[in-house]
Every structure is written in structure tokens, then in C-alpha cells.
């Protein structure tokens, strides 16, 4: 760490230092000049130096100087961590640190630009715009992909999403914590605060589920997952009974590596987390002629298919509370007091699960209105946290694409999710020996086997089939 190095075209070794204790690295001069002859004379790039012969990438430990600071020859600018040691990197030119392109904690490949140095103050702005427009390095940086949120180029891409996320996560009186003084103060655990910073979640909009309404890590994660999905632009109006849309495929630059948005990162994490849950699947084929007939009849009253399916599922869950339970700690059943049906909705670049609360108790007309309201809110990015993170059972429907069967991944924290395929006319043999035509749909439930066993799901599905095939209870 004592060694001082000079780097790149703009940085050469200083006479005072030598990598004495680091025999593998000949006094590490990173020579990269010829590649970068196009760089304008007055604005110089600061490159990630090669601090040892084995170093391929370096991590920025800290910026000794900040943007706009005047630098004079020989001053330390940045501390870089290599595979061997931390070293101060100093400049060989006078000038101004115009733009930092790799933030503290970020990783950059050896030879990629980590900052721009302007010779005069006037050139700072120019240098900054350069930093924002041009790819930071002439060689594609693998490190940029490795540390997306920090790496070169990522900030400007991520920025709109961040901004949107903070703005659009629904405004809520933050928590019921006694120390919150009516929402003025935010009470969040240290890790929750750290995560919020990392995931760009505004804690003011997160509801705490910890002791006394304190915001804990999982609240932030949930908010990050939900918030950004709402924030994603252009949520196409979802058909009421089939609220799924393919993300727009335009605007993708082929051959590039695009870092996850914050929300995609959260989804990714959730998906990996789901691997810790031992799930199994049970499928069932249900005739929908009666349900279709009912839907036709009450459609004019604003009833949607989503509401009908949610209602049917909720009524079945009343009889099978274990399917509405979840396993929080690996040791116990958590029987939920209410039946809240979450329905997965894909929106551009995101996924959100608006929740129909107490779907078993609310009548089908109110439920349909509620669903319409939720979809409107999702579109307007106004969903409040309790409207997307309180589901106890999830429905996912890909039927509108003609998908006849699929299986869903169980969202962590819940016990079961049901994948609903398209209802299609099918030739069936009936018990009385005839052949007939029936509309049939396949459903497939994924459940956490720690709490929900095969027989539980089987009998739940039997109940559900009965309700759907004889749907008079759905309308009371």
C-alpha cells in the first residue's frame, strides 16, 4: 500500500517508489498509450493500472480526490486494490479531476478508463459529457459486466430506473413505529438501510414488517422488487382476465451486455432464493364450460375472468387452509388469517403481483371492481406496498398466449402458486361411454413440500375443480 504508481499515458512511474516487496510486478507501469491516440490532447483518461503481472482487474478502494478537485503532479488520486495489495495511484500531470467513471467499490479491467483528467477548468464540462457518452474504454471491459451497478457506463443506464423507482413507489405513511413520529422519522435496521442504498429504495415509502413496524431487510427487498416493476415504463393496458403482456422487444442492442435494472436484480435474487425451497407440482384438468357460461352471463356487470378464477381459488382455499399456509422458518406452519390472492402481471421489463385481499369474503362484483382498480393503479404506478406484497397464494395465467400448460416458480414466503393454462375445446370421453366436446383447462400447482403435501394439493384441486365445474357459489 505504500507504493505509489503512475499510470497509463498520463501516469508514469514516480522516481520515489518501487514495488519492492512485490517482485512479480516489475515497477508496474501500465503502458497503453498507442491504443488511445484518439483521445483529445487536453482531456486525459486515467486508466486502471496493472499493479502486478497477474492482475487482470482492479477494485477502486477509494477516490482520494473528488470530481472538480485540482490535481498537481505527484498527488495521489485513487487507491486501487489489486490481487496483491492496495496501492495509491498518483497523477503525472497537473489538471482537474473532471469525471470519475468507476465509483468506489467498482471493479474495472486493467487498461480501462476509470476517470478523466481535464487540463483546465473550462474543460471539465466537456470531459464530463465525454464520460457520459463514450464507452469508457476502447476495449470492452469484462469487469463492467461483473459489477454492473458500479461499473463504467452503468450509471447513466441505471439512472432513469432509479429515479422512477424512487418516485413511483406508492406514497405511504411509512410505518407505525412509535419512534417514527407520524412518519417523519424512518426506523430501519442497519442492514435494511444498507440494502436500501444498494437497491435505490426510498425508505420513506416502505412499510416495515419488523418489530414495532421497523423496516427490515426483507421489506426493502420486497419494495425493490415491486417498486421498480411498477416504475417500468409503458405498462400496456392488460386485458382484464389475462393481464400478461410480452415485454416489448424493441430497443435491444444486439451483442451487448446489459446490466440488470435494480428490479431485475431483485427478481434474480428472489429466483435464486426460491431454490432453497423444496417444491413439487401437481396438475389437474378442469372443465370450464359452466364457468365460461357464467362469465358470459355476468360479464356485462363488469366481472372479469381473473376475478372469477381468484374467487374460485379462494373458496377452495377456505376448505384447505394448509394450502394457504407458508413455511417461514423451516420449523413451523404459518397459517395465514386471510386469503389474499396475488395475480402475477407482466409489464414491460418487469413483473408485479397485485393482491386481491380477502378474496374468499368479498363478493365477485366488488372483487372485479377491485381488480380493475389494481390494474389501473399498477398502470399509473400507484400501487401501495400492501397491494402487491401481501399475497398468500399466487395465480399465474399464460392462457391468453395459447399456452396449455406450464409450471410456475414458487415466490419465496408463500406456500403455493397455481399456473393456469388456456381453456380449449377438447374431445373427451365421458363416463357414460360417449364422446363429447368440452372446454378444458389445465392447472398446475407448485407448492412448498415442507408444509403442503401431495394429498393436500390433490384434494384442494379436487375442490377447486368442483367449484369451477359448478360455479354457482361464485356469485353467492
Amino acid at each position: 500500500m505504500s507504493q505509489l504508481l503512475h499510470l497509463g499515458t498520463s501516469f508514469v512511474p514516480s522516481s520515489s517508489t518501487a514495488l519492492r516487496r512485490n517482485p512479480t510486478s516489475s515497477p508496474a507501469i501500465h503502458i497503453s498509450g498507442n491504443k488511445r491516440t484518439t483521445i483529445q490532447a487536453k482531456i486525459r483518461e486515467i486508466f486502471m493500472p496493472a499493479l502486478s503481472s497477474t492482475m487482470t482487474e482492479g477494485k477502486i478502494v477509494s477516490w482520494v480526490k473528488s470530481e472538480g478537485d485540482k490535481l498537481s503532479k505527484g498527488e495521489s488520486v485513487v487507491v486501487v486494490e489489486s490481487d496483491k495489495a492496495d496501492m495509491d495511484v498518483e497523477t503525472f500531470y497537473d489538471g482537474y479531476l473532471a469525471a470519475i467513471m468507476v465509483e468506489e467499490g467498482g471493479v474495472a479491467a486493467v487498461g480501462s478508463a476509470i476517470a478523466l483528467l481535464a487540463e483546465t477548468e473550462d474543460e471539465i464540462a466537456e470531459a464530463r459529457s465525454k464520460a457520459n457518452t463514450s464507452p469508457s474504454s476502447s476495449s470492452p471491459s469484462p469487469a463492467a459486466a461483473a459489477a454492473p451497478e458500479k461499473a463504467v457506463g452503468a450509471p447513466e443506464k441505471a439512472a432513469p430506473v432509479k429515479a422512477a423507482a424512487t418516485v413511483t413507489v406508492a406514497k405511504m405513511a411509512s410505518s407505525a413505529h412509535p419512534a417514527s413520529e407520524g412518519g417523519k422519522r424512518i426506523v430501519a435496521s442497519p442492514y435494511a438501510k444498507k440494502l436500501a442504498k444498494e437497491l435505490n429504495v426510498d425508505l420513506g415509502n416502505v412499510i416495515g414488517s419488523g418489530p414495532m413496524g421497523r423496516i427490515v431487510a426483507k421489506d426493502v427487498e420486497a419494495a425493490a422488487a415491486a417498486g421498480v416493476s411498477v416504475a417500468a415504463e409503458d405498462p400496456k393496458p392488460s386485458p382484464s382476465s389475462a393481464p400478461v403482456k410480452v415485454p416489448a422487444s424493441t430497443g435491444i442492442e444486439l451483442g451487448t451486455v446489459v446490466p440488470f435494472t435494480t428490479m431485475q436484480g431483485a427478481v434474480s435474487r428472489n429466483m435464486v432464493d426460491s431454490l432453497t425451497v423444496p417444491t413439487f407440482r401437481v396438475g389437474y384438468t378442469i372443465s370450464t364450460d359452466a364457468l365460461d357460461a357464467l362469465y358470459k352471463k355476468i360479464k356485462s356487470k363488469g366481472v372479469t375472468m381473473t376475478a372469477l378464477l381468484a374467487k374460485a381459488t379462494a373458496l377452495a382455499l377456505v376448505k384447505h387452509p394448509v394450502v394457504n399456509s407458508s413455511c417461514r422458518d423451516g420449523k413451523s406452519f404459518t397459517y395465514n388469517s386471510s386469503i389474499n390472492i396475488a395475480v402475477a402481471v407482466a409489464i414491460d421489463g418487469g413483473l408485479i403481483t397485485p393482491v386481491l385481499q380477502d378474496a374468499d369474503k368479498v363478493d365477485i362484483y366488488s372483487l372485479s371492481r377491485k381488480w380493475k382498480e389494481l390494474v389501473d393503479k399498477a398502470r399509473a404506478k400507484q400501487l401501495q406496498p400492501h397491494e402487491y406484497n401481501t399475497g398468500t397464494f399466487t395465480l399465474s395465467n399464460l392462457g391468453m398466449f395459447g399456452v396449455d400448460r406450464f409450471d410456475a416458480i414458487l415466490p419465496p414466503g408463500t406456500g403455493a402458486i397455481m399456473a393456469v393454462g388456456a381453456s380449449e375445446p377438447t374431445v373427451v370421453a365421458t363416463k357414460d361411454g360417449r364422446i363429447g366436446m368440452k372446454n378444458q383447462m389445465q392447472v398446475n400447482v407448485t407448492a412448498d413440500h415442507r408444509v403442503i403435501y401431495g394429498a393436500d394439493l390433490a384434494s384442494f384441486l379436487q375442490t377447486l375443480a368442483k367449484i369451477i365445474e359448478d360455479p354457482k357459489d361464485l356469485t353467492f
Binding site: R20, R21, K84, A179, S189, Y191, G210, R214
Partner: protein
């Protein structure tokens, strides 16, 4: 006169042996001569037979000698005096224990007075049980670090722990070490006297349990080694359950979800290591502007990057906890923060528990210091560099010494022990001044932090004053083969030295097993070894100790001729 005497008659008054009278303690068949002699002395001496049966040479032949014995026991004021003990130590902590052992080795008749449990803070409520907890936290960290394990090719399923099991480990360790300490003193013949020791006057101490009769003993020399207790600033209400000190925390009666630690010194740091490994989230409250005051700034910065930032820890610096109320009636622990400089209210926290780690206060109450007109300074007993107690008028109190936390010179268990040994050297006729700059200190986080001597700012200040040059050498654990084999390359060793003569001013290590590595440097400082000499010492390869080898070798000393070890270097 080589005949033996028997002193097998007993009397009601027990006279403890003095240095002279013990020479009388022989047993042999009675002879008329001896009987007569003893008969003469009997009333005067009130002699009870010592229980030793070993025969020895009797040297009470001369009358003068007998007179001396009689004089000392009848306490008629004539010199020289005889004492119950050569050395009495008040407080059987690590400091007292170290002094007692060395005193026995030097042939002193020694007693140690303990009002609580043998072992003191370190063994019962400090270093020892905390090491048990840290051993657990270190392993938990390893098992939880998927990335680390994966790099080693290991697969471990989810690690868990049983709180009571962990707590028992700490408790069992403390009692084991306590027994070891007690037995080692008993085996050597140190008298362990139970009760609170109070100084009655020069060379006189009383002890006894509250409500029981008190015993008064005399001693040629007295060492105060009463130690310290956790310091709790005013405004903080400690209930032992949700607002706790290290005393309670070491029992590990609970692992709160969120604990605030007031003070980010080594006690706070170690507990943050334990609590975060066991799943708690931690908030540090530090009155100074930066965390880890007292550590070398560079080491502190690196330590913060490794021990604080990536963990579930946040912090408030530059604030005092002006008021802390324990959890009650379903309400959480409430902490009010004020700005350390302006005293303006700044913030309030509500957490599940608070650990007060704001340092330790000397425990000197009830010592009877007023009887010898000694006035404490902020509770500490003033001493000179030889641990001799200084009274209110600035004079030395003869035959009275104070070691360890009670004098506040360096509040470390091993420093107390070293001070005790130094005192014993002095009272046995060899002048000795302890070099506190050679005493190492360690913080047992994962990885560990250790240091000896001056920090870089201290060294530079001293250099400025005394007009010499200071250089700094550093090596990284990333360059050490053993550290890389362990996949623990995070770490730094730093040497602060005088390039003109090669004197080591300070060494600071942050990294794997730093606490064990520091001793090469502390021994070099203690023995006056210069860099130009120690750099030729050989280290086994590959070992972590090579970090220090590298460090010494990377230092640039201008001294041309290596000087023999221990000799002053001519500049």
C-alpha cells in the same frame, strides 16, 4: 548449636511466621535444653508451633537473635519489624496473579486478597469468555461465507447455532481458567484470603467478608490490583437485560435482532463481530468523529472497510448517547443522541438492545485510600513510573504499589501482570521500570487487529519534538503465501521506525492471526532489537510470520554497520 527443638506446645494466639521466626520452625524429639529455652520464650512469644515437620538448622542460638524475634512480635516499636507477609496483593485478577507467582519465585511470603472471584475481570467477565464467543463467531463467519468456502472448494449446508450452547462454552472456559489460576497459586503456597481488602495504614491491611469478623494483617509491601468495572456514562440506565454492559453480554442471554453498541473501541468491535456473526444487526454510537479511535488511522480505515462496511452494521459518529432507557412494557430500548460538540439533540434510536462499551472505570472504592491520604484522579490511583503510589501531597507512599486498571496506565490484563512483575523485581532489590511501549495490544475480531508502540501520528509528533526522521513500511497479507492458502489475503502490516538508527517505534497489524504475530515486534521493542539486526532472523516458510519478515526487510535503515543485539546504536 545443632540440636533441634520442638515447639510442639500451642497457645491460643496464632502468630504468623515472620521471616525470622520461621527459622525456628523445626520439629524433633524434645530435649531438656530446648524445653527450657522454649519455656523461657513461651510467654513472650505466645508461640504456636508451626505445622512444618521438616527439620532444619536452628539458628536461634544467640540471645540477640532471640531478642529480635521477641521484639517484632510484641510490636514494641523497636526496629526491625517483622510482618505477617512479605507481600500482600489486593485483588486476584490477572495482574495480582502474575505478581503473586513472581513473588513466590523470588522467595517472598505472599498473600492475595480477593473479595469476589479469583481471576478478576479478564478471566470472568472480559478477555477470556469473550474469546470463547469470538471463537464461535469466527467459525460461524467461515461457515456462512459461501464465497470463501466455494473458493476453497468446500460445500457446507446452512450453519446454525444454539445460543445456550455458545453461552455455556464461554462460561465453562471462564470457570476452567479460574480454577487453573486458583490452583496454580495454591500449589505455590500463596495464601488466598477471602474478603474485601482495605488499607488501614502503612503496611497494614484488613480483610473480611461483609458481616463477618475482620482480620488485620501486616505486610512489608502492598500491591493494589483491584482492577476496573464497566464504565456507564450518566443518563444510561442499565437493566442487565436490554441495556447491558460487557459483564452481561458475555453471558449471551439473548441475541437481539438489532443492538446498538455505544463505543467503537476494541470491546465494542469485538462484540460487533460476535453479534453480527450470530445474526444481529448492529448500530455503533461513537462520540468521536471517526470509528475505532485509538487505532492507527490507516489500520482503522482498513478495518472499517473489512469489519464494518460489508457487515450488517451502521453507525453514528460525533454523537453522545445522552439517555438510554431499557425496554419496558412492550416499548423498545430508546436512545437519545446529542451532538458531541454542540450538545444539541440530534436523533433518537429505538432498538432491541444496547451494549454500553464506553470503556472501563477503576474500581478503587472501599480501599481505604483516605487512611494513607491518597486521592484518586478520576478514580485512578496516581503512581509513578515504578507503580509506586503517590499521595495527595505528591509524595511517594512507602511500600505501597498499584498495578493494572486501577492505575489506568494501560488497561490491559497482560500490562497489569507485567507491572506486577516489575514491582516484585523492585521490592526484591532490583530496580525495574516497565517499558509500556513494548506492551502489545490486540483486538480479536475476524480478522484480528494488533499493535505495539506508537501509532503513526504519535510517532510523527514525537519525531517533530525530538527532531528525528520517521519512516513507514507496509506489507500486505495478499503477498503472503500462507494467507493466500487460507484464502485470507485481506490484511496489512505496518512498521513505523527511525530510518537513522533502525529503532522500531510501532508495529500495527490487521489480518489473519494478527494477535499472535505482534510478539515478534513487541519483543524486539522490549529488547531494543534494531531492524537491521532482526531482518536477518529466519522465518519458516510458508508462515504468516513472514508478513513481519517482509515488513522488516522492506524497511530502509541508513545505519551502515549492523550493531549487536541490545547494544545502543551509534548514530
Amino acid at each position: 548449636m545443632h540440636s533441634s527443638l520442638s515447639l510442639s506446645f500451642s497457645s491460643s494466639t496464632a502468630i504468623p511466621r515472620s521471616g525470622h521466626s520461621s527459622e525456628l520452625s523445626c520439629a524433633a524429639p524434645p530435649s531438656p535444653l530446648n524445653l527450657r529455652f522454649c519455656g523461657l520464650r513461651r510467654e513472650a512469644l505466645g508461640f504456636s508451633s508451626p505445622k512444618r515437620n521438616d527439620s532444619c538448622r536452628v539458628i536461634v542460638s544467640s540471645r540477640g537473635r532471640s531478642k529480635k524475634v521477641s521484639a517484632s512480635v510484641s510490636d514494641n516499636g523497636s526496629a526491625p519489624k517483622a510482618f505477617d507477609y512479605d507481600l500482600v496483593i489486593i485483588g486476584a485478577g490477572v495482574g495480582g496473579h502474575g505478581a503473586a507467582l513472581h513473588a513466590v519465585e523470588k522467595g517472598l511470603k505472599t498473600a492475595i486478597i480477593e473479595g469476589d472471584v479469583v481471576g478478576g475481570t479478564c478471566v470472568n467477565r472480559g478477555c477470556v469468555p469473550s474469546k470463547a464467543l469470538l471463537a464461535v463467531s469466527g467459525r460461524m463467519r467461515e461457515l456462512q461465507s459461501e464465497h470463501h468456502l466455494k473458493a476453497l472448494g468446500l460445500q457446507v449446508s446452512a450453519a446454525g447455532y444454539d445460543r445456550q450452547g455458545v453461552a455455556d462454552h464461554a462460561n465453562n472456559l471462564a470457570s476452567k481458567i479460574r480454577n487453573n489460576l486458583t490452583n496454580s497459586m495454591k500449589a505455590l503456597g500463596v495464601d488466598i484470603l477471602t474478603g474485601v481488602g482495605t488499607i488501614l495504614g502503612p503496611q497494614k491491611v484488613k480483610y473480611g467478608k461483609v458481616g463477618f469478623s475482620e482480620n488485620v494483617i501486616t505486610a512489608k509491601n502492598i500491591i493494589i490490583a483491584t482492577g476496573s468495572v464497566p464504565f456507564v456514562p450518566k443518563g444510561i440506565e442499565v437493566d442487565g437485560k436490554t441495556v447491558i454492559t460487557s459483564d452481561h453480554a458475555l453471558k449471551l442471554e439473548s441475541v437481539p435482532d438489532w443492538i446498538a453498541i455505544v463505543g467503537s473501541g476494541y470491546i465494542g468491535l469485538e462484540f460487533s463481530d460476535v453479534y453480527t456473526a450470530l445474526g444481529s444487526e448492529v448500530t455503533f454510537i461513537e462520540a468521536l468523529d471517526q470509528l475505532m479511535p485509538g487505532f492507527d488511522p490507516e489500520i482503522g480505515k482498513l478495518a472499517q472497510r473489512v469489519l464494518i462496511n460489508p457487515r450488517k452494521i451502521d453507525y453514528h459518529t460525533g454523537v453522545f448517547a445522552s439517555k438510554i432507557t431499557p425496554a419496558k412494557d412492550g416499548k423498545p430500548v430508546r436512545i437519545e443522541l446529542i451532538d458531541a460538540k454542540t450538545k444539541e439533540p440530534k436523533d433518537a434510536l429505538e432498538v432491541d438492545a444496547a451494549l454500553i462499551a464506553t470503556g472501563r472505570a477503576p474500581f478503587t472504592n472501599g480501599l481505604g485510600l483516605e487512611n494513607i491520604s491518597v486521592v484518586t484522579q478520576r478514580g485512578f490511583i496516581p503512581v509513578d513510573e515504578r507503580m509506586r503510589v503517590i499521595d495527595a501531597d505528591g509524595n511517594l507512599v512507602p511500600h505501597l504499589y498499584c498495578i493494572g486498571d486501577a492505575n489506568g496506565k494501560m488497561m490491559l490484563a497482560h500490562a497489569a501482570s507485567a507491572q506486577g512483575i516489575s514491582v516484585v523485581e523492585q521490592v526484591t532489590g532490583k530496580d525495574h521500570v516497565l517499558n509500556h511501549l513494548s506492551i502489545p495490544a490486540a483486538c480479536f475480531t475476524h480478522p484480528e487487529i494488533s499493535m505495539v508502540g506508537l501509532t503513526e501520528p504519535q510517532a510523527r509528533e514525537k519525531a517533530e519534538k525530538e527532531g528525528f526522521e520517521v519512516s513507514v513500511a507496509k506489507t500486505s497479507f495478499k503477498a503472503n503465501t500462507k494467507a493466500l492458502a487460507e484464502n485470507e489475503g485481506e490484511g496489512l502490516a505496518k512498521l513505523i521506525y527511525r530510518p537513522d538508527n533502525g529503532e522500531i517505534l510501532g508495529v500495527h497489524i490487521f489480518g489473519l492471526h494478527a494477535a499472535d504475530l505482534i510478539h515478534e515486534a513487541s519483543n524486539a521493542i522490549a529488547l531494543g532489537t534494531r531492524i537491521q539486526d532482526i531482518k536477518f532472523a529466519v522465518h519458516a516458510h510458508p508462515t504468516l510470520s513472514e508478513v513481519l519478515d517482509e515488513l522488516f526487510k522492506s524497511a530502509k535503515v541508513h545505519a551502515h554497520v549492523p550493531s549487536p543485539v541490545g547494544e545502543p546504536v551509534t548514530v
